[in-house]
Symmetry: C2
Amino acid sequence: MSGEQDPRASRPKRATIVDVALHAGVSTASASKVLRNAYGVSDAMKKKVQASMDALGYRPHRPARGMRGRTYTVGMMVSDIDNPFFSLISDGASSVLRPRDYELLVSPAGYDAVSQNQAIEALIDHQMDGLILVAPLVTQADLERVAAEIPVVVVGNHSEALSLDSVSGDDARGAGLIVDHLVELGHRRIGFVANHQVSPESNRPESVRLAGFLDAMERHGLERDAVVIDAQWSLDGGRDAVRLIDALDEPPTAVFAGADITALGIMSELWGQQRSVPGAYSLAGYDNSRIASVGPIGLTTIDQSGDEMGRTAGRLLLERIEGRNEATHLLLDPALVARTTTAPRNS
Amino acid sequence: MSGEQDPRASRPKRATIVDVALHAGVSTASASKVLRNAYGVSDAMKKKVQASMDALGYRPHRPARGMRGRTYTVGMMVSDIDNPFFSLISDGASSVLRPRDYELLVSPAGYDAVSQNQAIEALIDHQMDGLILVAPLVTQADLERVAAEIPVVVVGNHSEALSLDSVSGDDARGAGLIVDHLVELGHRRIGFVANHQVSPESNRPESVRLAGFLDAMERHGLERDAVVIDAQWSLDGGRDAVRLIDALDEPPTAVFAGADITALGIMSELWGQQRSVPGAYSLAGYDNSRIASVGPIGLTTIDQSGDEMGRTAGRLLLERIEGRNEATHLLLDPALVARTTTAPRNS
DNA sequence: GTGAAAGCGCTAACAG
DNA sequence: CTGTTAGCGCTTTCAC
C-alpha cells in the first residue's frame, strides 16, 4: 500500500539460497552443496535443486560466498589496460577460467610500484581466489609477501621464486633472434635501446633482453659493436633515442628498440625529420603488437603468443587454487616476424 | 607446536574491525563509523581509532562490507581492454573515484550482447556500488533493466533513458567536422565506411556518425556525392573496404573511415598494393588513437577527450550512488585533428 | 545422504 | 556522542 515511490519497493528482491532451498523443499546446506558441486549429493537432489535455481533465476551473491569460502573470482593486475599484449593475455586467461566458473576482473594499476602494490592489496581485500600479475614493477620481496597470502601467477617477468608461478617469453632467446636476423642482413654495428630505469640485474624483460642482446653480439664476435642507448620504452622515449643515436660518433646501421612502442617512437621522429626506415637505419621492435603489421609500419619484431601465456597463466592459477604448492616457471618460445623495417646493410 | 607445515599457520590473520575496536578500547560500531567517515564521531574518537587502524595495518574486508552496505567498488564493462580510448576512460574515471575511496575494476566482456549481459550480471553479483558501461552492445531495454537495480552510467552510446546517465562525444558534430574539412580541401565525392551490422536507427556511435555524415553532405549540397560503404570497423574491415571502393563506378576522392582502426586497415591494404594515402584518396578516421599521431601514419581524425569522458562518467556515477535520480545526458565537443592523410583534391 | 545451527566481518537500527 | 545487538547470504562443522 505504501512506499510505492520507493524505487526499491517495486524492485523484486534477489532470490537467495534460502529461497532456493524452500522452493526445492531441502535444506540450505544441501542447496549449497549442489551449488558448489560438492561431494555427497544424490542425483535426485541435484536435479531438484538445479530446477529450483533455474525457476527462481538464482545467482549466488559473491560477497556472501567470499565470507566463508571462495569468490570464484580471479584478479588480474596490469599497469595499463591500453596494451595489445595484455589484452591477449586476459582473453587467454578468461578462456580457461570461465569454463571452470571463475570470473576475471582487471585492475589497471599504473606504472609505479606504490600504486601497483595498492592495487594488489585491493584485489586481496576483495577476497579474490587468486591473482595474475602482468609485468609487475614491484620488488621480488613484495611478490613473495603477496604469494604467501594468496595464489599468484606472474606473467611477463622471469622469476625463480618458490612461492609462486610464472609464465614469460624467453626474452634472451628473442633478443638473440633479432641480432641473428640483423647480422644475417650484414649489420655489424647494432644499437639496443635499454630502458635502463630498471636496475640491470633485475629479472624484468628489459634486463633479460639487454643481456640476451649482449650475449648474442658476443656470440657473433661483435661485442665491440654493441651500442647501448638509454631511453624509456615509450613513444616519447623512442623520439629521444633518435637524438641520442644521432649524437653518436660511430652510429649503428641497425637498431633493436627493445619494444614495439619504442620502435614506433623512433619511426615517428625520423619521419618528422624526412628520414625513412630502413633508410636511416634498420629497426626492430619486440612484442608483435597489432599495429606492427599495419602496412606503412611493417615493423620487424618478435612474437610472444600472449594468448598462450594467458591460457597457461589461467591453468597454473587454477592448479594453485586447487592446492598445488610446488613452483612452476615456464618460458615460452618466441618467434621472429621479419617485415620491412629491416633491410640488408648496403641497400 | 604443531601444524608448522600448514602454510596458513605461519600466516598472521588479518586484523578485523573487532581487533581495531579492542585495540582502541571502543565499540565496533564506533570503529565502523570512523572507517566510513560517518556522521557523529568526536575528533578524539576518530584520532584514536585511526591510530589503531594504522598500528594493526587494518584493511577493511570488502565482501563483508558488501553484505550490509557498500563495497566502495565500481565496475566498468568494456568489450575489449585493448582499446586506447577505453584506457583513457578508465584512467579518467579512476582519477575521480579514487580520491573518494572508490576502486575501479574492469570486466573485459567481448563483442556480443550475450557475453556483455553476463559480464554485467557478474558485476552486479559482486555487489558493485555502480557500473560504468563503455559502448555496450546490449539493447536499450537491457540497459534500463540493469539501471533499475544499480546506478549506471553509459559511456560512448547516446541515450535518452530516464533511469541512467550517459556521456558521449557529439558524433554527429564530429562527422560534420570531417566532412567540412574534406569539402574545404576541394573534395565533393566522399565515402563513408558504415559498419552497418548495427541497425541504422540505433543510438550507437556508428549510426550517429553515419547520420552526421549524411546531414553534413546535404548541408554542402552534396547528398548525391555521398557514398556509403558497408564494412566492419576493424583492421580487416578496412581491408575489405578498399576492395569495395575499387569496385565502385564513380569512386570517391576522399574516404571517412568512421573509426581509426578502419582507416588503419585501409592504409595497410593500400600499402600492400603499392598505393599511398593520400595518393589513392584522402583518408580520415575517428577517435584520435595514440597510433594516429605516429609519423608514418599521420592520420587525420577526430579527438574526443576520453579522459574527460572518464572523469565525467565517474562524477555522474558518484552522484547517482549518492542518490540523484534525475537523468543526465552529456554530449562532449569533438575536435578535428588534421594530419597528413588528407590533402587538397588535385595534388 | 541430508539437515540444523553457528559464524565469517561488517553495518544499521536503536538504546543509552 | 557511544555502545549493544541483530543479521546480511553463504559455507561449514557436526549431528542424524
